[in-house]
Structures are given as C-alpha cells and as structure tokens.
Symmetry: C2
Subunit: 489 residues, 2 copies
C-alpha cells in the first residue's frame, strides 16, 4: 500500500486520469520502486485509496498490461512484469554522451545557391496589410474538422492509411475535374490532374521535369521572385518582358521568340502578380498562338481565379488550349488558407504522368486524408458556398479599403481599384521612405511589406501590395489610421 501512496491525480491536467495513473506507475516501475514480481493492490482498493471510480483504475492497469509493464495471473492478481518492454539502447564508443554537442557546423562544404535567398513576407503582428492572404476566420473549419475525422476513422485502414497514388487521391481528382470544368471552362478528366501541395510544388515539378540548364524562360518584370527562384534552380536563363495595364507585353515576347528558342513562359494571367492587372482576352488568344508557333510551354499560375469582383472573370488560357501547350496551376491557399497544402496541376495526360513519376522521388505522395477531406467538401458544396460568401465579403473589404485609401491618403498614394484578388497595388509618393515607415508600423503592431521584395530588377519603384482580404472593415480602418499617422509625422 505504501509503495502506491505517492500517486497523485491532477484534475486540471488535460491528460486523462487513467493515463496519469498509468504514467506514474510506469515511473515507479522504471525507477525500481515497484520491483519485478511485486503484486499490485486490487483495482477496487486503489480506487478507494485515490477516491476515483474503479473503472478508471481498471483502464490504467489494462494500459500497463497491454504495454507489458504488468502481468496478470488469473485469480491471483496483477504483478509487475519480469521483463520490461523498455529496451535500453546500446551505445557507440566511450563517453559518447559527454563528448558530443549539437552540431552547429557541418564537416563538409555548403554549396552557395544565391537564388534561394529571398525575404519571407510574413509577420505575427496583430494587424497585417499582407501580400494578399485570405481570412482564415471565414473558412469552413468546423466542416473541415468533421470531414477530416470521418476520412481518418471510416473504412479499411490498411488501404486508407497506407501508401497511395502519387498522382493524388482518385476521389479528389474526380471532384477537382468537375469543379475546374464547371468554374473555369477546362476540359479535364482525372488523367489531366496532378494533386500537388501548392503552386510552388507545381513550379518546381515543371521546372525540374522540363527545363535543362541554359534553357530560356520568359517572365514578366515586375514578377514573382518565387517563380524565378525555381527557374534559376533548374539552371534556366531568365528573360523578361514588361507589363502594362492589360497584362504582359506580347510584342516584347514575340521579339524574344524571333531571336532565340524560348522553352517556357510563366504568366499569372487572371490577376498579374504583383500588379493585379488581368491579361486581356485578345492577348490571351495571341499568347496561345505564339506558344504554338514558337513551341514554348505556358505555365499559367491562376492563384486566385475565384476572387474576381468586377464584371466577368476571364476563363483561363488552359481552357482554350487545343495544342496541349498550357500547364495550369492553382491551389486552395487563397480559397481556404495557406495551411491546407493542396493544389492542382492540370495538363496533358502524358505530362501529368511524367510529373507524377518525378514527384514520387521528391515527396512520394500527398496527404491522402486531407485530399479526401477536400474532396468531401467539394462534393458537398461546402467549398463552393464558402467561396461565394467570401467573394462577397472580400468585395466589401476591397471597396471599403480603397475608399479609405483614397479619402484619407489620396495625396500620398496612387492605385487602381483591383478587379480581383486580395491586394491593392499601391504606389507611394517618391518622398516617402517605405522601409522606415514599415519598421515604424511594426512597432505599432501592424505589418506591411515595404515593397523591397518587388524591386529586384532594374525598375526603381516605391510600390507595394496592400492585402485587404484578411482583415475586417474595422481592422482595415485601424490600419489606415496607423498609415495616416505615420505618413503625416
């Protein structure tokens, strides 16, 4: 009885009481306080001693029996086992434990890869005019949690939780095919879809699977450094073309094509990054023609197709691609939140097969549970309803934010109200030192990008993206208050 008197129960602890008891008994056995062969008091006695229900003690004993710490002899009681299941590992060499410290530095050289050095536009400040992220507070998290649970626990666990298809869950590819065909006018079957973990992975797979060293890749200037890093990693040469208010300049592209073989063009057709302009319909048709004529792959990054507020969204290039030149990429980053790493790469079936093979040696497969969770939410229309609701909400936020920017900062900033997306491309007066303002704002618990991430090439700009979607109207007002204060100091 005395040996067990040290057992305590902490009812404020999140851990179940039976586990608290089991863990303490395990400790006593490990320390040798309860020796091998020791006969434990009955569950009834211990329940009385601890003033808890007997079932709880039975649960604790059962746990320890299952783990092999205890042995039961029918009619005779419960004993501490003879051979403990905890195996003490065999050490290598002498005084190993004392000699070794966590390694700070490798005994070999680290290759220099300058294209991987990029600032992270991220902060934990309470207010955030971010790069254009969604508001996770609107996301259908409760439904997601329920669907995850059901995908995790229902059915044959060997096939459900074993290795799966590198191309992605078949169910999700079915749902995505329907969804993309209906919303974007694509013509896909499940063979045209590779489920990926996000646009970044799509870019990586296409760069690694199709580009060779010294291949020419055309991107816009301004553009997205994240895509550029991927092309540089594959050893490609980057060539740039300008952007105007109707999207990328196709005369400039055709000039490049006449001079050299172009292997791939990267385009954010619906809402150009970072400037938010949409590629005009006639340019899209010409771009497809150029692609066929000069044989370059179009990587169409349609990162926020679902969020278009004015008139009609324009169907992706991929939907009008007869020749099999377009690889189309999107994800649920903007539709739900960046934490849910599910996206899709759409292309000709032989491309998808090739890239799935490549993906297998990079990441084996996606998260089948999460993929089926998303499939369930698409099938039940939960995601579609969420998109319609958030589209309306983000439109309110865009209008309110642009109204505030115009009325309170009209002398210091210039911007176009974006037709879609989650950010306003905002040019500040050249006199304003954005780097210093952003630092001061951070001290007031507000983050915004100082625009330096967009200034990597030749143009000198004083412009940045102000993301409005992740904040309520009231929070947007607080942000503008801070900007007004800082800009008028």
């Amino acid at each position: 009885m005395q040996l067990l008197s040290s057992l305590t129960i902490d009812r404020t602890n999140k851990q179940a009481i039976y586990l608290q008891i089991a863990n303490q008994l395990m400790g006593l056995i490990r320390e040798g306080i309860l020796p091998s062969g020791y006969r434990l008091m009955s569950t009834r006695q211990l329940a009385i001693l601890l003033n808890i229900h007997r079932k709880t003690v039975v649960q604790a004993y059962d746990e320890l029996l299952a783990q092999g710490w205890l042995e039961s002899q029918t009619g005779n009681g419960t004993f501490v086992a003879g051979n403990f299941p905890e195996i003490q590992p065999q050490q290598l060499g002498e005084n190993h434990a004392n000699n070794i410290k966590p390694n700070r530095t490798a005994g070999f050289e680290i290759p220099i890869m300058p294209h991987l050095n990029r600032p992270v536009l991220l902060s934990r400040a309470g207010l955030h005019l971010d790069d254009g992220f969604p508001d996770a507070r609107l996301a259908p998290l409760e439904e997601l949690s329920r669907a995850y649970r059901s995908q995790l626990l229902t059915g044959n666990s060997y096939s459900r939780l074993g290795y799966g298809d590198t191309q992605g869950s078949f169910w999700l590819r079915q749902e995505l095919s329907t969804y993309l065909n209906e919303t974007r006018g694509l013509k896909t079957t499940t063979d045209n879809i590779l489920v990926i973990r996000g646009t970044i992975m799509g870019l990586y797979l296409v760069s690694t699977g199709f580009l060779q060293s010294k291949n020419n890749v055309v991107v816009s200037e301004l553009g997205w450094a994240g895509a550029n890093s991927n092309f540089l990693q594959a050893g490609a040469n980057l060539l740039t073309i300008p952007v105007d208010k109707y999207g990328i300049d196709l005369d400039a592209l055709e000039n490049l094509c006449r001079k050299q073989r172009i292997h791939l063009l990267y385009v954010t057709s619906h809402h150009h990054y970072p400037t938010t302009v949409a590629l005009r319909a006639d340019r899209r048709i010409r771009l497809l023609q150029l692609s066929e004529q000069y044989g370059f792959i179009i990587f169409e990054d349609d990162y926020d197709y679902d969020f278009h507020y004015e008139s009609k969204p324009i169907l992706p290039l991929a939907g009008a691609d007869k020749a099999g030149m377009v690889l189309y990429c999107g994800s649920f980053t903007k539709a739900i939140s960046p934490a849910f790493r599910v996206g899709y790469l759409v292309g000709p079936a032989n491309v998808i097969k090739h890239l799935a093979q490549l993906r297998r040696i990079i990441d084996r497969q996606g998260d089948v549970i999460l993929e089926n969770t998303i499939a369930e939410l698409l099938q039940n229309g939960v995601i579609q309803r969420h998109l319609r609701k958030s589209l309306r909400e983000y439109k309110h936020r865009r209008d309110y934010f642009c109204e505030l920017l115009g009325s309170r900062l009209g002398n210091q900033v210039e911007f176009q109200i974006p037709d879609g997306g989650m950010a306003v491309w905002t040019q500040f007066d050249p006199q304003i030192d954005l780097v210093s303002i952003a630092k001061k704002a951070l001290k007031m618990d507000m983050y915004f990008s100082d625009g330096s991430a967009h200034q990597q090439y030749s143009q000198i700009i004083n412009t940045t993206r102000l993301g409005f979607a992740s904040l309520t109207l009231q929070e947007l007002e607080m942000c503008v208050d801070i900007l007004v204060k800082l800009l008028n100091k």
Copy 2:
C-alpha cells in the same frame, strides 16, 4: 406558393436539411423560376408547407442572404436579389466549348528519365505480406483526430493557418528534439531539425542540395532503389559495396575511397534494406572514421529504429558523430502509418538552414496543423505509448510468422529471424517461380512482392521481403496457408 411547391426534403441524405432547401432555392433562382424581385413566403409559412421546424427555414434563408441570392427589406420580407452573385465567366475565342477535348498528349516533348521508372509495391488485396508496413489498426487514430481538431480550431487563426516556418513547426521541432535525444542518444536542438514529409523528401533535399553531376555516391548491393533514383536524379554516379550479415562491407568502401573522391554514402544502419541485418557497432565506429578521413557525407536512413525486438537496439551513427558528417533521417511512416507525412532530417545547423531554403522552393512548408498534432501526441506521450504497445504486438507477430514459415515451408524457404523491422528477408528455393506464385496469390486476394524489385543489379536472387507487421496472427496464418497451397501444387 406554387413556385416553392417543388421543394423536397430527403431525410436519408447526409446533407443538412437547411442546405437541401438552400440548394434547391438556389437552383430555382438560377433557372429563372424564381425571378429577381420575387417575394418569398415567410419562414413560418414555408416551415408549415414543408412540415419542418421554422429555425431550419431561417437557416436556409440566412445562408442565401449571406451568399447574396436573397435580399431582405426590413418589415417587408425577403426577396430574390437583383444581381446574382454567380458570375458567368468570359469565354475565349469561338465555339470554345465544342472544340476542345481533354488533352492526352502535350504539344512539346517529354524528357526521358529512366531512373524514375520503378514498380510500385502496393496492392489493395485483403491479405498482404507487404514490404514491411505497420498496422494502422493499432494506431492512435482517435487521439490523432481529437488533437487535429484542437490544432485546427483553437487560437489565432491568422498565425495558425497562415504561412509558417519552412523548417517546420517550432513546437514539433522541440518535441522531436527531446524525443530523438531520449530514444536515440542524439544531441540536437531545434536548429538541428528539419521537419520533412518523409524519408523520400530528406533524400531528395540532400541529393539536390549537396550533390553535383558526376559526384560519386556509394550504396549497398542489395539496396533500396528509391534512394538510388534520387542520387541518379541529381546526376551522381552510383558505386556499390556488398552487404554481409553484419551490414555493409567497409573494406570494400575503403577500397573505393582510395581510388576516387566519394561524396556521399547511403546506409540503412539499423535494419538494412532489404536484408534486415543490423550494422555491427564496431563497423559503425569505423564508418564514422572513414567518413572523416575521406570527407564523405553519411546519409543515415533509420526508417524503423523503433522496432527492435532482440537485446538492445544500437544507437544511430548520428549520435556519435563529432565531426558533423552524418545526416540522419526518419519518419512516422512506420511508427503510425504511411498516410501521415511527417518525418525529420537531423544534421548540423548550417546544413539544416541550407536545406530549409531549398525546401522552400519545392514545397514551401509542411502541414502546420498536422505537425502540431504530432507535437501534441509526442508531448502527451501518446506516440511513445503506441510504440511500446506495437513493439510488443509486432514481436508476437514476427515470432508467430517465423514459426509458421519454418514449420510449414521449411523445405522451400530459408530466412533469418530478423532482430527488428517489419519484414522477413526470405529466400525461396531456386526451383520456385516467384513471379508466377505472386500472380496466383493475388487471385486468392493475397499480395506479396515477387522480389523483382530487389533484382535490379548483378546478383540473381530468389528472395523477397515478407512483411508481417500489418497482419494479425490469424491473417498471417491465412497467408501461410495460401503459400503452402501454391508452393505444393
């Protein structure tokens, strides 16, 4: 009243009743049956008509109000909205919808990458002597589901569900550091750990981040084709050394080192793949010395450290690595199930930082929710308890299976009882045609690998891995019954 008379309720449908109503109303509006400006009957009236609770109708109307299909005029009722939120996208070109079919073939060339062609050892048969997978039926799925829910729903959603640290959740790195130091004698801090999605990703990152074309990589023969594919993808030359019953042959390794610069050695030290032998402690110390002397990186793939049944497991090379030469890799694939894509790469802090930068352009970041879920289960000891329980269970299964193999197939197979891991490396009589037997077994709903996956190099073997861990004793017996039947035909 008549316009709404088509509404029906299906109580057998999983979809909530208010959503059934909302979806049908949406359909009527979309089809123009309920025109813009139409005044809906009151929620009370509709509830009586449909014989349901009024609250359910209120919920349906609220849903449609939120989505913008309806408009409410205070004191006057609820109306079909003037501008529908569903935006019809703008099409490109003419007759687009009729001309385009799903693309089977790209308009550009697919590069040939023969090293990516590998058979998938996977089947959905009811019985499976697999490659050595765990039994997901034993996994703490209920706890996992609860922890996932709590990580998903609790706290500030912007920081929780926004972009996160490419190196992995800080919480998980803390828990992993403690766990790895305690169970494997490693000396790590959070700076030494990169959370990855599995061993495959660890191999890919190290190959891409440290190898250049024509670098020499040493692997064992026999070995794991999955690792080899990664080294070949990086452009490396593969050199092979033999394996005996104490692990890889270090004399052969030293001979190679004397002749040429070796950049990396790949080793499955604890239970060699596919042969299951453990690398003897003295060879481990010599391997570390050779690595320092000749300057090659050791990639230590410790895929199933937790499952060692005899005497003591041997601590990893990584724990005795003073010079910063070892990169250590493991995952929860064997500990929980392949579906949970969380693993760890452990190495010097500057290596981890370098590889995290590389990972950012491949996969941006891990699944933060899942990472924190695993962290919670490690912190609460759920995973540790699960490991102890399954260790005991798998030991039973190993013993029972080896007993069956020996007693019922002793004349036709040879094997060593493995000290650990989840598979028995089983050599079949040379007269037996494994390919044909495996095909026949599949017709009897039993899968096993015919061994061809292990026969890629010079040796001709008639040997395969028979995984015992994913089946109960009864299921193992059924498998052996089938084998006996097929081998004695």
